[in-house]
Amino acid sequence: MKIAMPVTAREKWDWLSLTYDLMTWGEDWRQGGEKRQLFAKIQGRTLLVSVGTGNDLKYLPPKCNLVAIDISPRMIERARTKASRAGGNIRLVLTDAQRLAFADQTFDTVLTVCTFCSIPDPVQGLQEVYRVLKPDGRLLMFEHVRSKIGLFALFLDFMTFLTRRFGPDLNRDTVSNVLQAGFRLQHEANVYLDIVKIIEAAK
């Protein structure tokens, strides 16, 4: 199924795919342990929203049943090799997170890693995630958000002016967006300050 996608977002992430692995090398090392713990919680048929270059696929438990999507063909292309190395049943699909190409109540778990900082309309994206989750399905997120500490929040607002054109927004209130989309919040934990977070929610 071919989905019409906003060309600008796709182009942006196509371009970023060239340097993505390099720019996230340190982050990957520092936060890998937390990601592995989070990924261990996936159950049943799982959707990974925004697979990127596939850096996070190595944290998946063996024998997982995963559909990984991204808006960028170049990201998907780079993820293909890592998906074959990761093992498990991993299928890569090119689609827009704001208009998911899946039927209602398809997945038991939805996993996101630094995804909802980049989706143009995060609430619409989360509503789509809600739609494709089965009743009582779980949303597991590893995301960076706007800090509640004024000192950091102001700076993140300022930086978003610069990063928005060529990367993610740094000042999203993702926890509120999750609630707005209809999810029940189950768990929230800080990974770095109150900026990088693990968020767990249920449909």
Binding site: M23, T24, G26, R30, G33, H187, V191, L193, V196
Partner: protein, 156 residues
């Protein structure tokens, strides 16, 4: 938190929690944080010293210092982000660049004649160490569960 749904969450605890035990990161990342902080402090102090004149208006010097510090820290971000992680680098370096730049600008507009460049650079480096230390301490306070529903805790 002003959201009533969030307020309704029953269990609140800081630091470590059962479901997300903090994982220890290699020591060289912490060392790298301090190296990045020291370098940012020194380069900010140097750049401010080169730009701000001894007779400048203190407010103008403060604002120029802040701008210079921002430019220095954003340049160093490109160098350190791939090695140390985006937010782990961005937040302390931003504080060093912004606030260090302001303080150094104020100082250099008033006391440039009395404080040699070498001392200014040492103070810049010490300021960098101080900010990184505070960032690590603050992170330890905030790290871990913010809240969890009891039923979610039991089932996970």
């Amino acid at each position: 938190m002003s959201d009533p749904l969030i307020k309704s969450i029953e269990v609140r605890e800081r630091r470590r929690d059962i479901t997300h035990e903090g994982t220890s990161e290699p020591f060289f990342f912490r060392l790298g944080d301090y190296v990045a902080g020291i370098l940012t402090g020194i380069l900010t102090a140097l750049a401010v010293r080169l730009i701000v004149g001894p007779q400048w208006d203190m407010v103008v010097a403060m604002l120029v210092g802040m701008g210079v510090g921002m430019l220095v820290h954003m340049t160093l971000l490109l160098l350190f982000t791939p090695l140390l992680g985006m937010f782990e680098v961005m937040m302390p370096l931003a504080m060093i660049g912004m606030y260090g730049g302001m303080l150094f600008g104020m100082r250099d507009s008033m006391q440039q004649a009395y404080i040699p460049l070498s001392t200014a650079l040492i103070v810049g480096g010490v300021f960098g160490v101080f900010v990184v230390f505070v960032a690590h301490w603050w992170n330890r306070q905030l790290r871990g569960a913010v809240f969890a529903r009891p039923e979610a805790r039991r089932s996970s």
